[in-house]
Symmetry: D2
Subunit: 332 residues, 4 copies
């Protein structure tokens, strides 16, 4: 039985805590959060105790921690957890600074602990099936990837100011999907990236120094092409699709819908909008992701999403942001 | 905290036991099964104890039982549970004999306990959404229902011999859906039923006195029409769809799929087959169904699927079987 | 160059006249219609002459006629055309009376002319592709057919009074599809038919002695099952679908849509309604049907839809009407 | 009655000739082609005469010409036709040289004749419906356009050498769609374009100085974003889709399919591949396009696709080609 602590009892912390508490062989021992109320509610619901971070790191019985706190605490907590000899699950991103993120890689390596970054999309059943078929060669060699990644609405402007901007905040997931889908089969990597952005929905986003709409193009060393389009405000909801073209076919990953009801009436033939937002859309992915973390700890197999993947995605996000600012592509 | 026992640790018993054990406010205290091994494995996995049925009924702390044992034990267990003052969740059907099923209704009434029959399809998110839209009048008044209900493969012939046949075994669910969708809004009921069946897949099914393919038509008192088609062997898997036509439109309930991957290649454009079988297709329905049982016990609200619904569906199944045998319709 | 006359310049006559006039090797010489205006307009548009029926039959240069006049004139015109030695294309049905329809078969045979009945659905690209795959065994042996056949709105009650009723008027097409899809591979035929009907949309339809909603079930000699559901008023338009289950899979024929635009907005994800009505839905079928007529005349190959097919469908329609009236199935 | 000549009796010339010959009020008088055989065959089939280009221009009865000859003859023929006072329908592109294309604009203007460029996609029923809904504001203000434009296979390398390359040859259509969909509502235009290309399918394409795979991004003056992805070889066929995001929703234009048959079997649920290639996919568009040409000549209304549109698309194609070569974006 593995004893675990969850650091951070906000929205994503609650998801991970509930999922890991339901795993056989895993005990959620501690919940820690600056908000005593958040920590107590979550701990009580799942039969855990409230603890400080220092207590967590000091408790020898704790084998692993799940870091679900705000982004700007990640690198510090990863480093401290590594030094305390705890295995680490950390929500994306590692850190908005590639330098600090790289320091986390080093700290984890030095401590000999395992560290997984939460790119949950790699665990989504739809995306995972596409990846598996690609790996089995069902559509030949990958050539082109088109990602549509759109949020239903922008977060508060205050959040945007600290988020690192649309490329680091939203597109970090898509940049990881790019590496996973288009490159991971044979070690290909991005060679050239070009991005551009606009503010089309709310001038306050421009005032916060961010974009609400962006388009990214990546060419890899092998000449594969990836296009990503995104907006912070899609009127029809949360849109999470990608299509990968291979030499022998195409794999298309569609949205998930709450139900399979289709209504035919005088207006047309109408199905559901996509699942509301990421908590619904990726509910299965979050469950499978945290299960993967503990399975790998058990088996000694490597994680599908390492801290090095986190750093690599961050570098791409930085390059996209730079390209959008300068209007010029970035070469790697 | 409600203490509960599960009677029957087979395939469906394990589903219900796992789901109810995860509900807040519900404790799975006992598991009972003629197979000591089945009972022990399930009890251990969920932290319950193994008990005999007599022990369960004798334990005053037990408020409710979930009857998940073979069909031919249902009426006896319902009666005994009612007499012991336990609330009852019982898998469909109540009993293959309408007489005995009606006796269960009486026993439950006499004992003043609550009894819910497990027609899980009423709790399926897709079917439930269609029902809700119908109730809100989004397609006007219902006029016609077409149900496609197909299994991926026939059960063993030994099972078929005791199952009561395709109308009582498979179509009981669809006959309940008919009542729920086409009749429940205004108390309409079947007035005329005609059924016919064939054996097209395996002569052993004919030898067992059953059909593998059947077609049912029902006309209600208000003149609404329902057609049900079924087979025990659909080469493409488990097919669970219905369409209800209303005066202002149509609601179509499609299959659920494991993933939203669509593959485009030289053969065409191909999506997933439906979810494999009922345990996968109705996973959410089973969770919501058992939660509904305990919510109603808590709130005192009536169940959506009562023992009277079980009897009504059984009567329709009997009439369909009789019609298929005689080649003549049955009037109610 | 084949000289041809079109008898009847109404809606369907105009379709056939335009289509045949565009065929290489075919000359539309005459148009005949009781309405001098209709005849003149059509003749002028297509460069033909107006003629009486007697003139048409007397003109030795006319090799074939297309009978597009009202149903109650069909058998007389078929007989006269046959006697005049003209090859015959006749819109469905042959005649509302099976006796008179059979007399047409005899007259055609006696005269040694070719006679094709216009069941255009057999020429629809979608339905035709399904038939071809079935014939190639792509889904194994056929077992079950489900037909959804719905009109967008009822014709005037005056029309209904003379139409022979919903089974002869609307379902004649579907009954032909049943024979074509479920029986034609190996000479199977209907053995048992049961039908029921209701009036749910307009009491005037009941007053005219007809139904607006009907459900038909057919069992063939080989035990195959067919269900047909129909309404004269589908709020969402013209619905023309069927699904055929085989031992190795299912072929589903969906509606055709005017465009492939899908709109995603706050209401959901919405595609087009089906093509408006039969002239749009079967535009290609009408073109291919009349081309088939002339190709067969040229090559001497048999027609896909003979006058015997017309009689066979009429017998099924009669049986369905009788069953709906009596409430009892009809055996063949 | 308008007398017309078709210049060029190749694949596209035959399409236009057949379509215009079927229009009421239009007479195809001449066909001209360097291949006497091609000219004679087409002329005979449609009841026209073979003529030299000089004869065509000299015949005062000819009001309009359709230029369907190779690209490198377009500007010369447009200029000569204009000087001869003929109205002009010319297949895209105007000319691979923007300078020569602009000279055509001037020649047409000086002669006071009408000149339409054949961007047939604007006449496609699906694309046209999307444009109409956008114009009616059904999805609010346009923000983003994603175009997937893929050929089933590359043309011969010899063709590629003279084609101007993938941006001028294939993407010229998509660049016109970009202007039509994202810009035409309010006079917006491209402000910044970035393109990149690869050779992934056949090294001979690289040897010919072209790409087989390309990705283009455009930002307009108003900040709207467009991404286009293309390949010369999609294993699943001809892929012609676009999606336009607006402030209130999304319009998605899907492929057209030959039939609506869907096959369910052990492999999955499979629909048709898209229509085979442009002659099939855009058959309706070609008909509607040439009808539009003559309707505008008749009514005096402006064409939907002018020679100025042809020049504008050519400028975008040149900029995309330059960007792909240099690796740097182009500003307008």
């Amino acid at each position: 039985m593995k004893n675990v602590a969850v650091l951070g009892a906000g929205r994503i912390g609650r998801i991970h805590a509930s999922n890991l508490a339901a795993l056989p062989g895993v005990t959620l021992k501690y919940v820690s959060d600056p908000s005593a109320q958040f920590a107590a509610e979550l701990a009580q619901r799942l039969g855990a105790q409230v603890a400080t971070i220092a207590d967590v790191f000091a408790d020898k019985s704790i084998e692993a921690v799940a870091i679900c706190s705000p982004t700007d605490t990640h690198s510090d907590l990863i480093t401290r957890a590594a030094q305390a000899g705890k295995h680490i699950f950390c929500e994306k991103p590692v850190d908005l600074s590639v330098t600090r993120a790289q320091a986390c890689v080093d700290a984890v390596k030095a401590a000999g602990v395992a560290c997984m970054i939460g790119f949950q999309r790699r665990f989504d059943p739809t995306f995972g099936e596409a990846h598996a078929r690609l790996a089995r060669g069902e559509i030949g060699t990958p050539e082109m990837l088109v990602i549509t990644s759109r949020d239903p609405g922008a977060p508060p402007v205050e959040y945007l100011k600290a988020s690192g901007g649309i490329f680091r905040d939203m597109l970090i997931h898509d940049l990881d999907v790019f590496r996973w889908i288009l490159c991971s089969g044979d070690g290909d990597e991005a060679a050239w990236i070009s991005a551009t952005g606009s503010v089309l929905t709310d001038p306050a986003i421009a005032a916060a120094g961010d974009f609400d709409s962006a388009a990214v193009t990546i060419r890899t060393q092998k000449g594969r092409l990836c296009q990503i389009n995104t907006t912070r405000r899609a009127a029809y909801g949360y849109d999470q699709r990608f299509e990968v073209l291979g030499s022998a076919g195409l794999l298309q990953c569609g949205n998930h819908r709450p139900t399979e009801v289709v209504q035919w009436d005088a207006m047309g033939i109408r199905g559901d909008k996509p699942e509301n937002f990421f908590l619904q859309r990726y509910a299965a992915a979050y469950r499978l992701e945290i299960a993967h973390f503990f399975e790998c700890l058990q088996s000694g197999q490597p994680f599908k999403t390492t801290v090095a993947d986190g750093v690599a995605a961050q570098k791409l996000a930085d390059a996209a942001a730079e390209s959008a600012r300068s209007g010029q592509p970035v070469q790697f």
